[in-house]
Point group: C3
Chain length 442, copies 3
């Protein structure tokens, strides 16, 4: 099967990537300009933040996806590829100033583009392992376009701030991914894929990625917070940190409570400890006190774990959604919770009722627009990529590096040698004992 399937990589992936890359270079050549004014202060305080987001995107997500036993190379390398293409596309779309025909580049626009890419990564989490790299690249391009369209609609129609509109990335990404995986559903996949399990080492690699995501989420949530108002960035960092702490504790306890024999499921815990940070990220401009962040973190982790335990199989059997990394319960539900928390917190802080109602209406509209856009773009993307031309990997090649990667069979070779040794010993043993047997018989 492999020799018949693999060439698709060469015949489709390489030309696609090279064409994309060349056109990006041409676009950058004619339209970009580096923005120079008034960045020095922001630049030096943001350079470490930029590096942290970098680490989350390329290393964090890359290793977050490595838990299937034989999927390590694809998880890390395709994530790198996809993230890199999506970020370049994000820089172009984000910096576009249509009236001037120019694309602005600054450290801030790089960071913004990386946050958009994070949204694409969340979508990809839902279809990881069941798609080929060509599909992954196209998904990320369409997702980033959809997300930036959504951001633009929210900003121009509802006057939502940059921070609030970008932080909806978790909700957008997860609903996009969900519709994608629903469209991509394969018959007969109600059972778990054969190679979707994790072993001790692949679970540890995945833990490494999760920890990088977990540790740098405070930076992720605060990197776009305006630091000219003193204390706002500090508040964002502290809130996210405490919410993450609470959600780690809660996810571990809930995972143990849900298990029939009281054990903890490693991937479940990994996918749920991020919930608190996600929820606080969505509501970051509304949270005023640490305990609010902690309560949000607690609730988010409870919802995520219960969702992971019961909703995931329900989605698979009831709605035919095979959600590889539990995107709905890890990012979607906590994101929605954060949205609700933001609404409640802002209404509490409003002085008069009119402002409160006004805010609520705008807030609800922004959610509805986001979900509508994410579902519709997800549907379009899914239908486009389901076409025969994309050549999805066959069922028995899902979650397998061997299709795309040159894998040396060191392990297999060793097993073979060992087997031969065993056989030799058996032959020797048999010969000896049969000759003995003869002696005895004679």
């Amino acid at each position: 099967m492999a020799p018949r399937y693999a060439p698709s990589l060469r015949s489709r992936l390489a030309p696609l990537l090279l064409c994309l890359q060349t056109s990006f270079i041409v676009l950058f050549c004619f339209f970009t300009e580096i923005q120079k004014n008034n960045f020095t202060a922001w630049f030096f305080s943001s350079l470490p933040g930029f590096q942290d987001v970098n680490v989350m995107l390329f290393l964090g997500f890359g290793f977050f996806f490595t838990f299937p036993v034989r999927y390590g190379f694809s998880a890390t390398a395709f994530t790198l590829l996809v993230a890199v293409v999506a970020t370049q596309w994000g820089i172009i779309l984000n910096g576009l100033e249509p009236h001037r025909g120019k694309i602005k580049i600054s450290l801030k626009s790089l960071v913004e583009a990386e946050l958009c890419t994070a949204s694409a990564m969340i979508s990809i989490a839902a279809v990881q392992g069941k798609t080929n790299p060509v599909q992954l690249v196209l998904i990320s391009l369409l997702e980033v376009s959809g997300f930036i369209l959504n951001k633009w609609v929210l900003q121009s129609l509802l006057k939502v701030s940059l921070l609030n509109s970008i932080m909806l990335l978790h909700i957008f990404g997860s609903f996009f991914g969900l519709l994608l995986t629903w469209v991509f559903y394969r018959k007969g996949c109600e059972l778990q894929f054969e190679k979707e399990k994790y072993d001790q080492k692949s679970g540890l690699f995945s833990m490494l990625g999760t920890l990088f995501l977990w540790m740098y989420l405070p930076t992720f949530n605060s990197v776009l917070v305006d630091d000219r108002i003193p204390g706002r960035k500090l508040k964002a960092v502290c809130s996210t940190y405490l919410a993450l702490a609470v959600s780690a504790v809660t996810a571990a306890s809930m995972s143990s409570l849900c298990h029939p024999r009281g054990k903890v499921n490693m991937t479940q815990m990994q996918q749920c400890i991020l919930a608190g940070g996600v929820a606080v990220g969505v509501s970051v401009s509304g949270v005023q006190h640490p305990w609010e962040a902690m309560t949000i973190g607690f609730t988010a982790a409870v919802i995520a774990t219960i969702g992971h335990q019961y909703l995931q199989t329900q989605m698979l059997h009831g709605f035919q959604c095979h959600d590889t990394c539990a995107t709905l319960s890890s990012f979607g539900l906590p994101g929605l919770l954060g949205w609700v928390a933001h609404l409640l917190l802002e209404i509490r802080d409003c002085d008069d009722q009119t402002t409160a109602i006004r805010f609520a209406v705008f807030h609800i509209c922004s959610l509805l627009i986001t979900i509508a856009l994410s579902l519709s773009t997800g549907l379009i993307t899914g239908l486009l990529l389901k076409l025969e031309v994309c050549r999805r990997p066959p069922d028995n090649k899902c979650f397998d590096d061997q299709v795309y990667w040159e894998v040396c069979h060191v392990q297999l070779y060793r097993c073979f040698v060992q087997f031969l040794e065993t056989q030799l010993k058996i032959f020797f043993y048999f010969t000896v004992s049969s000759s003995r047997g003869k002696k005895v018989r004679t």
Copy 2:
């Protein structure tokens, strides 16, 4: 055995964690306030430092403990859990202002709480693998309480500076852990535990954690150094960096010299390359010249390696202390060396004899108080947690993930398939050769 032992996780860990977490949230709700004044400058210069300490605590220590072959999940995930609970507790105790009934939170108080948690991590290093997560959480809570009590006593009684009192964390942590492991001693454990060994991959994971601890120790030692006096922070960074460099070289050479066939022991090297940074950390406010730091680093690595080689078995057989990560020689002895170096360096810099004697008396008192408090709190903690109610893992379940984690038996399954294949071939071979044998005989 597993089905009978595992439920303890659900029946004890989950309720304990959920209760703790809820009460933390309540405490934060009624008593905390974010400190806003005069932090902006410190905040922006410290945010990267905060992230680095974060990485050390969650990733560094987590992977530092992964060297036993089957202990990866427990090492990383329980470290995360314990660190997260201990840090919240540390924030509460550190920020407590009893006269106002308020708990202050700032980035500095988060960093301080993380340093206290590092002290708990060092204690836990001594009992890692032989305790269950319930015990680990309780140990960390009591250790952090003890350490903050010690800090408070030193600061109010002896007017020790914040930096110097916090940097005794290595000494406090290691003596606390030592008494703990002495109390927890199991009969018949003079021999190494069966699963305590490392293999090639688990040794590499552990190297990853060690490298993160090693690389970020300069930040760890300098994060609380007052940066209003120019040059002090630079001095702390350079000193720690050079001491670590020297101690890496020395630890490798000494490890090779100690080995009967001149080889290097990986875990020994891992646990000793940190010694220089630990020693310089304790004496950080006294070190003036790079060569002093380097000499301290050299001596610390020599002491740590020799301690690891000869003292560890001595402790096991003579004093019945099974010290999993060699806490005494990796953190305790280098810490004491740093204390001595600090004493000598400060006395040398004193102008008159009176000040010198005065300093020496105060310095010696602070060590005695620290050791006394660490030993007594360690003893109390050990006796409390030895009670039947905590249900220690049985000997054959030590250093084993299987007790607490849902582990997929991919490896085992493959072995089984391979075994079946071998059997089939043998059967085939036997049938053929016996029929041939018959022919020959007939």
Copy 3:
């Protein structure tokens, strides 16, 4: 063989390292002084950069070399050792002020020393696995001396700026390493070494190291860029980031195009995604627009992948150079490309022809001097270290941890147990069936 070979570590490595370390401490004791004036601003903006370079050097390169199946311990630990020795030596040589007899230390001199060490790491990449740690330490010392000599010659003879002279580190390192591996050539090594292959886990560890190198290259290239002229550092960061992005995409496509069945080779991709960053690093002071950096990144990745695919075997068979990590195509050729790009970009920006010609002459001279010095010092180093006294590892011990490290045979032990079980079953089976056979026969 092992017991006869291993003692060389004790009898040579430990004394060498201890002597070196002691003399370094003595040198630091009598000659160094910490530079205090006018560093505060630079210090705080550079501390995170210093940590990032640290991570690249110790973690990035360490894990970059782990791809051979059984070479993990040596790769990470020897890299640490070598880097630490070389950095100390670099600090001494870099800070030396001969007229005052003093060695200056500042954060900047530490960073400079680390960049020199990076050059040594690139050289070592070419001979990794075929040398013992004694040789590695000596290579790094001689390489750093040669590189600093080169830097001094360029700066004093041709008035090349510090940044431009240091950024030639890729070219210097790779040609030094190439000559080294040519001198070290072993007869009969036209075939790949038996243990040079990678498996799934070692490939993932190597990916981890590569990702750290990849993610922090923007910092690496910009850390020495003067930040007093606003915008220059931003330009360096953005350029490197975009070049790396482009080169990741291009390397993956080219690797798939080069493969007969369209698959991607993991180590090839790993070693080629860095090419863009390397090339932009060399031309960092000439690049003005993002698209220039992206074009450089594209070309660098194409050259590196093609070089890796065709040049490496050519070098092995034609020139007897066994280049372990493809230093020539990963660092050498992209470095040369960067040099050409720098020349073209600077000439384009020149106002009159005289300046352009003058610059070209100086630029060509600086390359010729660098290559001449790297080749000659590489030759001398190679000849010195080929002497019998260094005791190179025998062919069958190349790429093997077992020679230098105490490795627990957990895997082997398990295989043995499994084998015994199989044997028992066979014995049982044989007895039963032979008795049955007897019955049948009787």
